[in-house]
Structure formats: C-alpha cells, structure tokens
Symmetry: C2
Subunit: 349 residues, 2 copies
C-alpha cells in the first residue's frame, strides 16, 4: 500500500516541473537520498552523488522554493526597504542593480518593500519580520538611533544599513565618507579663494547629516573660512524651496561665495537660486556637489563635483547581508567608501 502510493504518480505525470520525486524515480533512489546527494552530503556515495547531480542538471531540476521555505523557513529573499517619497532617484535604480549583481548567482530574489511618508518607517520592517518574508533586509537613511536597526537586532534578523547608526550596537553597514566629502569640499573651495561658505546638508534626522556638518565645520576652522547659515532647508526639501532660499541668501550682502551640496538634484536648485539672484556660478560663487551619475558637468560646466557610487553601495550592502546570513561576524561586514577628488570639469571666467 505504501509502495503502491509511492510509485503511482510519477512516471506518468511528466508535464509538471521535475521534483525530488522525479529524480528519485529516474535514479531508482529514495527522495531522501536524492535530496542529500544534491547538497553533497558525505554519507552519500561519491558515485551516487555524481549520478544524481548529473541527472538533475540534465533535466533542469530546480528546487521548489515554496517547499524549501515551508520546510526550513528559509525564504531565499532579500528585501530592500525604500521610502517612496524621499529616496534619491538614482539611488533606487543604482542600488537595485548593485544588489542584483551580487545576488545574481545565488538563489536569492530581491523584493522591494516600499513605505511612504505617512507610515511609521518601522511598519515595513515589522511586517517583514513578523511574516518571515525575508532572510535579510537592507535599509537606507540610517539614523543615529535607528529603531529599525534596534528592532531587527533584537529579533536576530540579518540586515545591513546604508549609512551608519550611533547606538553602540554593531551591525553591517555601508557608508560613504561624508565627513571626508565635506572637508574636501571646503578645502577645495578655500583653495580657490572662497571664504564664506554655506552647506546644503542632508536632512537633520539622518546620521550622515551629522557627519557632513562635522566635516564642514571642522574644515572651516582648519582653513579659516566662515559659515553662512543655511540650515532652514536640506536636500530633502523641494526644488522650489531650495531655489527660493538660495536666492534669498544670495541677495544679502553677506552672501556666501561658496556652497557645498550633498545631492545633485538639490544642486540644480541651488544654481537656479544663484542665477535668480543675478549672480554667476564660477565668478561670484562656486559650488561643490556630490553626484551619483555623471551629469552635473553638463548642467553647468563650472560645477565642482564629487562622485558617490550607489551601485557599489548596493553591492556592498548585498554582500554584507549575505555574509551575515552565512554566519559571518556582523562587525566584519562594515565598509566605508572614500570620496574621490573634487573634480573640476572646466573653470569659466
């Protein structure tokens, strides 16, 4: 009766995709043996192993994800959690591709889990953890005291953050060295004679706001330049708001003669504001901006740029999560990307 049951289905039911049962029938072995043979278990004879693997390859066997997931809890999914309104456009695109590159030859799938302004950023994380929807999570916009990181750390679910936290807790991250970016930017501006600098910073809640501001102010005192306060807007504000505030500050007599901007789109707004005030980039004022795709030099050739590679960030983050899932020490999965030189495409005037 058992025997009967075991054999009745498979030789006839060819149409579906092959399963362990199919392989078992074809090789004349038990499904357990096949299962173990496929993962190179030592208690299976070497020849049997090869034989099973050969047949599996030939007929294109692919383990059923639902079966594995149900049995083991392993989802083979990495979730990328993104803010629907606030992420930089090229960030989304590049980080996805970066992650994809790394997981391409693994069984992992990438799922994108979005959340919107109105929601608690913890919501999507809770969902993922409670439903066990992913083996690992990547979050962006890290905060010094990040409830999401804390939450995942408590539940023991592997994750990596884009940006660092500052809670005395150790976890994988990848970050761009925004302190170095800001200091280099200030030094460069000082080097071309700029002395009154303004910073268009990242939004206040995020960790790299602090890094950027610190780099900026440290370098200011190093080179003996002064700061023109410009903290009523951040790169998260709308193009229009940034443009207006820039125009305002540029119309004052104590206006800045140099800007440091943390994002390319925001830089477009800053330049527009400068020109609204009737001033000329490269003559009256210089702007150093981060950019993630090499387009700013087309916009205004006088712009000074520092490149940040989000695709690299994506790869690093993916590597970090996979590493943690694979059992590596979280502390060994942290990386910091150094900014390159400040690039001047061409000076005008």
């Amino acid at each position: 009766m058992d025997r009967h049951q075991t054999e009745k289905d498979d030789e006839t039911s060819a149409p579906g995709r092959p399963t362990l049962k199919t392989l078992a029938f074809m090789t004349g072995l038990g499904v357990t043996t096949v299962s173990r043979a496929l993962k190179d278990a030592p208690e299976i004879g070497a020849e049997t192993r090869r034989r099973v693997q050969l047949v599996a390859k030939q007929i294109g066997y692919r383990p059923n994800r639902a079966g594995v997931r149900l049995r083991t809890g392993k989802t083979n999914v990495i979730s990328l959690v993104l803010n629907t309104e606030r992420e930089i456009m090229s960030f989304v695109s590049d980080i996805i591709y970066g992650v994809s590159e790394v997981i391409a030859d693994t069984p992992y799938h990438l799922i994108v889990t979005p959340y919107s302004r109105s929601q608690d950023p913890l919501d999507p994380i809770r969902y993922l953890v409670e439903t066990g929807s992913a083996d690992g999570v990547i979050i962006s916009r890290a905060q010094p005291n990040d409830p999401r990181a804390r939450y995942m750390l408590e539940r023991g679910i592997p994750f990596a953050t884009h940006g660092r936290t500052d809670m005395g807790l150790v976890h994988p991250y990848h970050d761009f060295d925004n302190y170095a970016f800001a200091t280099e930017a200030v030094r460069h501006l000082a080097g071309i004679g700029r002395r009154r600098l303004a910073l268009l910073a990242p939004p206040v809640g995020l960790t790299y706001h602090g890094h950027t501001v610190n780099g900026f102010t440290d370098a200011l005192s190093e080179v003996g330049a002064s700061e023109v306060p410009f903290n009523t807007v951040s790169i998260d504000h709308s193009i229009e708001q940034i443009r207006m505030r820039t125009a305002q500050v540029m119309r004052r007599q104590d206006r800045p003669d140099g800007f440091v901007s943390s994002a390319a789109a925001a830089t477009l707004a800053v330049v527009a504001g400068i020109e609204d005030a009737g001033l000329k980039l490269g003559r009256d004022v210089d702007v150093v901006s981060k950019q993630s795709s090499e387009l700013l030099h087309l916009f205004r050739r006088e712009l000074l740029v520092v490149n940040e590679n989000f695709r690299l960030a994506g790869s690093e983050l993916a590597r970090a999560v996979l590493g943690w899932i694979g059992g590596a020490e979280p502390g060994s999965l942290q990386s910091l990307s150094a900014p390159g030189e400040v690039l001047a495409y061409r000076r005008s005037g």
Copy 2:
C-alpha cells in the same frame, strides 16, 4: 493516536506565529472550517464566520505564503523585469513606486528581476515561468515582435508590457503616446519658426521608435518642415556619443534649427553638443524634450519639455497585470497616456 497527534502541539507551542491550527484550537473548530471561514465560504455559518474572522484579526493571523504557494501554486508575486544597463534611471525608480502604490493593499510582493546586456532578454522570463516564481510579470522596452510577450502568451502567464507590440496578439500594455509627442513637438517647433528638424529617437528595435519616427515625419510634412538625418545615435547611446554627434551635425552649414529628443538625459548631451559647436539654445536652435522628472527647466530655461509620468505607468501596468490575474479580458487592460502640452519655461533672446 491521530487525535493525540492533532492536539498535542498547539496550546503549548505559542511562540511561533499563529497558523490555521492555532485558530482552529482557539475557536474549537477544525482547520478546514477555519480556512473556509476566513475566505467567506457560504457553507460556513454566518456567525462562525464572523467569530473566526474576529479571532484571526485579534491575534494577527497572516496566512503563510509558503503554505499557500506550495498547495495552490499561487505565489502572490509580481515580477518587474528590468534591463540593468539600459533603463532610464527615473524610470526604474518611478515605475517601482507606481507598482507599489497599486499592490500596497493586496497580498502581492514586488520582486525585481534584472538582466544584463549580455543575456538573452528571454532568459529572465524563462526562469520566471519555468520556476513558477511569479503570478504576473511586467516587462519594459517592448518590441514590435516581442519574443518575451509571445513566450508568456504561449504559456498563459499574465503579463503587461510597457510599450506596445505589433504581432497581431492582444495583451495588456501601457504606453505613452509617442506619436502624439513627436507630432506636437514638431508642430511647436514649426510654430516658433523652426524648419530644419532633427530627431533623437529611441533605439531602433523598440516599438516606440517607430511611433516616434512616424509622428515626427508625419508632422514634418504637415507643417512643411524638413528633416536633418540624425539616426546614427539614439537615446540609448552614451552621453559622450550623443554629444559628439550633435556637435558634428551642428557644425555643418545645413545644420538643424530644431531638435526633438525622446529622453531627458540625452537632451543634456544634445545641448552640450550644441554649445560645443558655439551655438546658443533658444537663438540658433530649439529643443523639445521628453522628461520624466521636472528638472530640465533648471538645466537650460530655454528648453521645451513634454512630461511623461512613469509612476503612472507603473500603476497602470500593475493594475493591468492584477486585472489579468483576476480574470479580466487582456484586451480591456490596455492604456495609452496622452502627452500634455509642450511646456516653454521661459524664452530667451
């Protein structure tokens, strides 16, 4: 013995997330009844139904995806298939958010399936279909004779394409009316006195290349303007190539006095090329460009723009796939987005 088995686990094993078994124990019903009650099956008493649903809500029951998927084959996954190298940056970002909006209050997850230049575009589709990894697929960069669409149509897997095909086969799609875009662009340029126009078109293989070219040439003869051939580059070419070719053509004496460009990034390159040749936008030549984020007017205020909304495209595509999955007629799930007016931010000179 059965009895014993059935009851032994659940009252004690609280820690894990609730399953149908948990609910069955709590309500004193069988798992079958609970399962049916949760999906409002008519053969379950009205009061029982309400009771089960109440308890389920209270304890936060969520069906286990792996269980459902294994049993029914339903994955509750939509896959967005993207070309790692060729997609427009903002397209990736916006379409993901557009899709997300629509699937937010459904059980669907969005997985991103990338493929690179080197691969056959059919590869990722085959993978998805063979492994049954998604209930529905969204593809971009539709071709007149699209093997991916044909393949999925043959296997009966629901999908939607960004862009139309032209194979006499009916399937859901969303498209921007690029024919209308091109005609409007040409008319506008003619309206401001431009008579020798060049088109920076989409790459030749894609369906909307044809739409754009047809709109362009039809409108040319309508307004009695002439075409300056510019088909050695497309918007898929690199910034540098487009820039160089533009500069070349602008140095000839029979140079164009108007451009129509199908993508914003490419437009930056065109403008750079124009200026390389020592000419001035808005005086010597005008450019009408599509854009998907409202940034071009910051770049050069003389640019003429037509907006294309990729977030909308994402939503429409998601709605289309879900509709097909839900049993709607594929032919009823097609939409075309009309371009708005050509927007002139400010004329110079």
